[in-house]
């Protein structure tokens, strides 16, 4: 508790809890408060949650200390009065405040208990808890925790408090150390604390060497048999300090001495010590032992049994509830339905009030398992409350163990830490009482303090050293009583004494010998045996039979005998002889009383003897004196006797009183239960009362209902009467019960009910009666409305039988109504006829027909509709489009239909819908259906599928568009067979002409339709050209002409040209022949073609000229060499002549050379001429190809020679072709020169010229072993001016190919064989040239 900080530094935090009247007490306190240094105060005053506390302002003037409202997480400083803010719970956390929104919405706020509880856990401060004026009990629990933690707890004295609820609760709980008025408290607080601290200081300083501490423990152990040496020492020390403080003793030594001298203080101390350990499930181990024992014990109990538990000394109830929970747990484990009652008793009624609430602090629940906590406790406002079902089991009652009678037949008694209050004698007595109270084998649960030696006599511990005991099967001690009087509990059974009779046989003769008439009595004066004839002395009197001597003995003897007997029994000695003489009878009877001593059963013998004369002087008093003397003696004796009897009665009554008291106590506790039951009953009663009221109201309502019913019934009768149609009501056995006038007339019924008892009879007058009877029986069976049509006297009636159903759904009768239906029936059949007709029409209509009502639900759909949508009739009828089709479709249709409903006319639309996967086109007609008032009641939709029609239309349109957008015009003609026959030549009529004919011929297409063939062609070739047109049509029809170019009429730039493509379609299956014409205006193309030809020719010409130039260059070079020879020869002659040599021989030689050379030159010129010829007019002639090629070879020989290339000439075929020879020569020359150029760079150079003769063509092949033509160039080499050579015009190959094409030949290049072959194929005959 005391921290390392020195005493002076330790800040004391004083928690002050107050409520109503708190302000006065606080003002008083602070006004007198002298504790300023090292003190801080926390005032927790209950305030309204919605009200900002004024307390800081109010207190400011009363104290020198700083007053402020506490703030969240504010560090506590010295010398400050903190006021808890309203509507927040204030807690202490370390050295700060923690303010939390109040959890508790019901109880007072801020909670004093809550703050004290947090204060009790502080390690930073010395703490003091003060409870001031206020109602309720807030703060009590908090003080308890503070005290348990070893802090000082103080309450305002109740008489000084304006409202004493809180202080009183705190004081009565026993958790208050000091009680003072606020002003005293203010003055003395510092001193009290100093004192408190001083004690602590010293006790700490002494520590373990403290013999006094051990002495105190020893005293405790000796007195209360509890060894606290193993208890927590600081706790015990704090308790001792507290007691020292209370007794104003300063040293422990003094206290030890004090203890020795004041044994009561020992108990007070002990009690104080024990308070700290008051908690739920105190001593867990013991509870476990108890649980084991209970498990065993409860096995014997069955469902429906009761377990009674007595918790003696329950204090604030923890023990009682712990027991209840423990037992409940065991019962749960054993799954038994056993009712449990716990009698929790204590002598202190004040603590019991709190116990009944069953609210405990968190601290007292420390040793409670979490599972138990969850199940049996409800957390409220930082505390735990025992759940109601356990609280209800526990009955709290005030009970003094020392004096009050015990609870009986209990199964478990718990008495823990109670014996400490009692001396050993009482302890033993209580032990006996427990033994008496418990059921056989019942359990006694004791605490550490209950260690009297006597226990072992009556109980057996479940285990050695266990505090759980079993009742020993020992006879209860009869001597215990619940009052001051001892009651003899020895059994008084007669039978128990029969065994003793044998002994009587011994004394019998003896008795007889002394006094023949004797009575043997037991100590209660019950007659056991009669010896001799006793009828003179005893007789059986009227009333209940009794063997009591008191009742048997005759009156004259009674008076004297009974006191003597009593005396004898009391003194345990034989009585004097008593002489009794009756006045009527002079004889004297002597009675001897013998007291037979027996430790178990003392017996008494009464002997009667009659002595007539024998008078003993000594014992016989004088008569006169005798009477008065004996009278007096008798009276005296009687008085004595009466007194004794009185005593006896008083004592017995006292005992009864005590027993009654015990019963009363039980009643009292039972009363509590009854009271709660009563409350429940009261509630039930109230409920019943209200139910009763409701019933009364209901009854009134029923009455008025009943009146209404009478009225309605009357109305109903009148209604039935006024109905023109016959109405008949029969009962379940078809007996007539009522009918209306119309029925009366029709069926000849009598108003007299007796005459109409049989409905059948009444109806059988008519042939249809049988039917009606059948209808009635059918209705009785089916319990539903049955109808039929009956004919009565040529009129058709619609008969309806309606069952009258009772409450149990049984038929109580049948109502017949007969409607004259004749007109309706006729109309209906007509209607049905027309309806059938209409339906037939609809069903066979090719359209899909449906009718919808105004809500869009189908009311009719014909078979086509169903087929189209693939639905069954029942799927369609009654549903709308949203249910049948997709949302989009339905929504679209809806708008259209609304429009149609508004429209007076049928609405026709072309529509496209998705039907399943397909998209279908429809022509839909929608028209509204009107009722007789002209209001629309429905909509009929008729749809025709036109999908194919539409698609055909679309295709046709597409075709037209394509045709129109193309430049070609399309025409279709069909033959008119009759006209062909008649005219003797094919006669065709135009069937179709594409629109774009207008662009071509300037005449609209419609002008041609259904006109004859001539009409159309006259627009092309001109009028009066019928013969030409006829030729054309004949060649189309008969020869299948497919393509022709026609020269048309002259246009602006000369004649128009047309291309005509035709496809003839012979008529099949009776259809006429027809043909399709495609007409193209090709004038432009023709013009362009002509231009192109001219251009090409020009190019060719220039190309030829260019190649001529090349050729000329070669030739000039070739000429130079022979010229050189000639020149050199001539010069040589000249030089020789100049040199003076003989030139004759020289001249001969030279001239020969010159002549040769000239010959050579003329050869060259000749070949030059042949080249020149190429430019001659191009005329076709038949040419021998070999010859032509030979000429070429010769013309190019020099070329090959110069290039050092071998020309392989392989032309052996003799074949002639028609061609332009100059052009062909040029082609071959071109190819050869190309080949020469190609091979020039090769190591081995050759070019091959080859001629091949074929069927209709010849082939000229020019092959070389050059590198070939790369693929990338193949397509380009034919174009003019394309060349790979440095020199040259690039015209060669294009020229060549154009020439070949002109000859209708082909030219190919083949590089596949490692060589390059240019192949020219030419037809042998060529017309086109």
């Amino acid at each position: 508790m005391i921290k390392k900080k020195s005493q002076n530094e330790q800040l004391t935090l004083v928690g002050i809890g107050s409520s109503a009247g708190g302000l006065q007490a606080l003002t008083e306190f602070f006004k007198h408060c002298a504790a300023l240094n090292n003190f801080s105060y926390v005032v927790v005053q209950h305030t309204s949650p919605n009200y900002q506390t004024m307390l800081p302002k109010l207190l400011k003037d009363t104290t020198k200390l700083r007053v402020k409202e506490a703030e969240h997480l504010e560090v506590i400083e010295e010398g400050v009065v903190y006021i808890a803010p309203s509507n927040k719970d204030i807690m202490l956390r370390g050295d700060c405040f923690e303010l939390t929104p109040s959890e508790n919405t019901i109880g007072p706020r801020p909670s004093v208990d809550g703050f004290f509880s947090s204060l009790s856990k502080t390690e930073s401060f010395e703490a003091i808890g003060i409870v001031l004026s206020g109602t309720g009990n807030d703060g009590t629990q908090g003080l308890k925790e503070l005290k348990n933690a070893g802090f000082l707890t103080i309450s305002q004295s109740p008489d000084s408090a304006k409202y004493d609820g809180m202080p009183r609760s705190a004081i009565s709980s026993g958790f208050t150390d000091i009680v003072l008025s606020p002003s005293e408290l203010g003055e003395q607080l510092a001193d009290i604390l100093d004192n408190f601290r001083g004690l602590a200081q010293r006790s700490v300083s002494l520590e373990r060497k403290d013999h006094s501490y051990n002495l105190v423990l020893k005293i405790l152990k000796k007195q209360v048999q509890v060894d606290f040496s193993h208890y927590k020492e600081p706790t015990i020390r704090r308790r001792i300090q507290r007691r020292m403080l209370a007794n104003k003793i300063l040293t422990l030594d003094d206290y030890a001495t004090f203890l020795t001298n004041n044994p009561s203080e020992v108990h007070t101390l002990f009690q104080d010590v024990l308070i700290s350990v008051t908690e739920m499930f105190r001593d867990q181990v013991q509870f476990e032992e108890l649980e084991t024992e209970l498990e065993d014990y409860l096995k014997r109990k069955d469902d429906g049994d009761t377990i009674r538990i007595w918790c003696a000394g329950c204090s604030s109830g923890e023990e009682a509830y712990s027991l209840a929970i423990t037992v409940n747990e065991v019962l749960k484990k054993q799954n038994k339905n056993i009712r449990m009652t716990v009698f929790a008793t204590d002598i202190n009624e004040a603590t019991m009030e709190a116990a009944r609430k069953g609210v405990y602090s968190e601290r007292s629940l420390e040793s409670v398992k979490q599972s138990i906590k969850n199940e049996y406790f409800t957390k409220l406002d930082g505390h735990y409350q025992i759940n109601k079902h356990i609280r209800e089991m526990v009955v709290f009652a005030r009970h003094d163990l020392t004096s009050d009678p015990p609870f009986l037949r209990v199964d478990l008694i718990s008495c823990r830490n109670v014996f400490i209050y009692f001396g050993p004698a009482i302890q033993e007595r209580i032990t006996k009482i427990f033994h008496y109270s418990l059921n056989p084998k019942g359990i006694l649960f004791l605490g550490k303090a209950e260690a009297t030696s006597s226990i072992k006599d009556y109980f057996q511990p479940s285990q050695s050293h266990s505090r759980v005991y079993r009742k020993l099967p020992k006879k209860s001690d009869g001597t215990i009583s619940f009052g001051t009087l001892k009651i003899d509990h020895q059994p008084k059974f007669i039978t128990s004494k029969t065994g003793k009779r044998d002994s009587l046989k011994v004394i019998k003769p003896y008795i007889k010998s002394i006094a023949p008439t004797s009575l043997l009595l037991d100590s209660d004066f019950t007659l056991l045996q009669i010896f001799g004839s006793a009828q003179e002395y005893i007789s059986l009197s009227e009333g209940a039979a009794s063997l009591k001597l008191d009742d048997l003995i005759l009156e004259p003897y009674k008076k004297r005998l009974m006191p003597a007997l009593l005396k004898s029994r009391r003194l345990k000695q034989n009585a004097n002889k008593v002489c009794i003489s009756s006045q009527q009878d002079p004889k004297k009877v002597f009675i001897d009383i013998f007291y037979i001593e027996d430790p178990i059963e003392p017996q008494i013998i009464v002997s009667f003897s009659e002595k007539v004369e024998e008078v003993d002087e000594s014992t016989t008093p004088p008569d006169s004196d005798f009477d008065s003397y004996s009278e007096m003696r008798e009276l005296q004796q009687e008085l004595l006797h009466t007194r004794e009897q009185l005593n006896l009665v008083v004592e017995e009554q006292e005992t009864s009183n005590e027993e009654l008291q015990a019963l009363n106590e039980e009643m009292q506790s039972a009363n509590e239960e009854l009271q709660s039951t009563n409350e429940e009953l009261e509630v039930s009663n109230e409920e019943l009362q209200s139910t009763n009221e409701e019933l009364t109201t209901l009854n009134e309502e029923l009455n008025s209902k009943s009146n209404e019913l009478v009225l309605v019934n009357r109305k109903l009768n009148n209604v039935i009467e006024t109905i023109d149609d016959p109405v008949i009501v029969v009962d379940s056995s078809l007996r007539l019960s009522s009918f209306n006038r119309s029925a009366e007339k029709m069926f000849d019924l009598k108003r007299d009910p007796t005459k109409n008892s049989e409905l059948a009879v009444a109806f059988l007058k008519y042939s249809s009666g049988v039917n009606l009877v059948n209808l009635a029986s059918k209705c009785l069976r089916s319990k539903s409305v049955e109808t039929m049509t009956v004919n009565i006297e040529q009129r058709v009636f619609f008969a309806k039988a309606q069952p009258i159903l009772g409450n149990q759904n049984e038929v109580e009768g049948v109502v017949f109504s007969l409607n004259d239906n004749t007109d309706l029936e006729n109309a209906l059949s007509r209607l049905q006829g027309s309806e059938r007709q209409l339906k037939e029409i609809f069903e066979h209509s090719p359209a899909s027909v449906s009718v919808k009502d105004l809500t869009g639900k189908y009311t009719y759909a014909n078979s086509n509709f169903l087929k189209l949508h693939g639905k069954k009739e029942e799927e369609v009828i009654g549903r709308d489009d949203y249910q049948l089709f997709s949302f989009e479709e339905a929504a679209r249709v809806k708008d259209i239909e609304i429009e149609a409903l508004r429209s007076k006319r049928a609405m026709m639309r072309e529509e496209t819908y998705k039907v399943g996967e397909r998209t279908e086109n429809f022509y839909s007609y929608r028209f509204r259906l009107l009722d007789k008032d002209g209001k629309p009641y429905g909509l009929c939709v008729m749809s025709f599928t036109v999908t194919e029609l539409v698609s055909t239309k679309h295709e046709l349109q597409l075709f037209r568009d394509i045709v129109s957008s193309s430049k070609s015009c399309s025409l279709i003609f069909f033959e008119n067979a009759e006209e062909t026959e008649r005219r003797g030549h094919p006669y065709f009529l135009t069937n179709y002409v594409s629109d774009n004919i207008e662009q071509m011929l300037g005449v609209p297409a419609r002008n041609f339709v259904n006109k004859d063939f001539f009409n159309f062609f006259s627009h092309i070739v001109g009028r009066r050209k019928d013969q030409k047109i006829l030729r054309l049509i004949k060649s189309i029809k008969n020869e299948g002409l497919e393509w022709v170019e026609i020269k048309g009429m002259d246009g602006e730039d000369g004649p128009r040209w047309y291309e005509l493509r035709s496809s003839f379609v012979p008529g099949r299956k009776g259809k006429p022949d027809g043909f399709h014409l495609i007409l193209n205006d090709i004038t432009e193309k023709k013009l362009e073609e002509r231009n192109q030809k001219q251009h090409q020719a020009e190019i060719l010409k220039s190309a030829r000229l260019a190649s001529l130039g090349e050729m000329a260059a070669g030739i000039s070079h070739e000429l130079n060499t022979p010229l050189q020879t000639i020149q050199s020869s001539a010069e040589l002659l000249e030089l020789s002549a100049q040199a003076g040599e003989d030139v004759k021989e020289q001249a001969l030689f030279m001239s020969e050379k010159i002549i040769d050379t000239v010959g050579k030159i003329s050869g060259i010129i000749k070949s030059l001429r042949s080249l020149a010829k190429m430019d001659e007019t191009l005329t076709s002639e038949t040419v021998e190809v070999r010859k032509l090629l030979l000429q070429v070879k010769e013309a190019t020989a020099y070329y090959f020679k110069n290039a050092g290339i071998e020309l392989r000439f392989e032309c052996s075929e003799d074949v002639s072709i028609v061609c332009r020879p100059r052009q062909i020569e040029q082609v071959v020359i071109n190819l050869l020169t190309n080949a020469v150029d190609a091979v020039k760079k090769q190591e081995e150079k050759w070019v091959k010229l080859q001629l091949l003769n074929q069927d209709k063509t010849i082939k000229i092949l020019v092959e070389d072993n050059g590198p070939g033509v790369p693929d990338s160039l193949k397509s380009q080499i034919m174009t003019p001016f394309f060349t790979t050579k440095k020199e040259g015009t690039g015209l060669g190959l294009s020229l060549t190919s154009s020439i070949v094409e002109e000859h209708r030949g082909y030219m190919r290049i083949d590089c596949s064989g490692g060589t390059t072959i240019f192949e020219i194929e030419l037809p042998k005959e060529c017309d086109e040239l």
Partner: protein
Amino acid sequence: MSYNELKGLHLWIVEDDQDLQDVWSKAMALYSIKCKTFMRGEDAIAALEVERKPDVLMCDYYLPGMNGEEIIKELFIKGGISPALLVTGKQEVQSTLLKMPDKLKFKILKKPVSIRTLLDNVSNLLSQ
């Protein structure tokens, strides 16, 4: 003109025209120029191995096999034959178009050319 400085000169002629060969051989003999004729350049190149190297070379352009330009280059490179005359009837052949080694003394003459012009040029080339 006596062309004495040319006497005893060794001359190779590469010319495929037999007649011209004959005429030129006679003309050269007139001036005591020792003349050896070849029909093809290849023959002349082959002769390098066995024959005395000429002082001057005369060569036609268009020849079967190698042309004149190639022959002149080859003979200069292999046999150091220089100067050389290229005598050709092809008008287009010009010295600027041919790429001859710098040290080679070279001249192009166009046919027909007089024997005197020929000899003048040989003489000029030799005296350079």
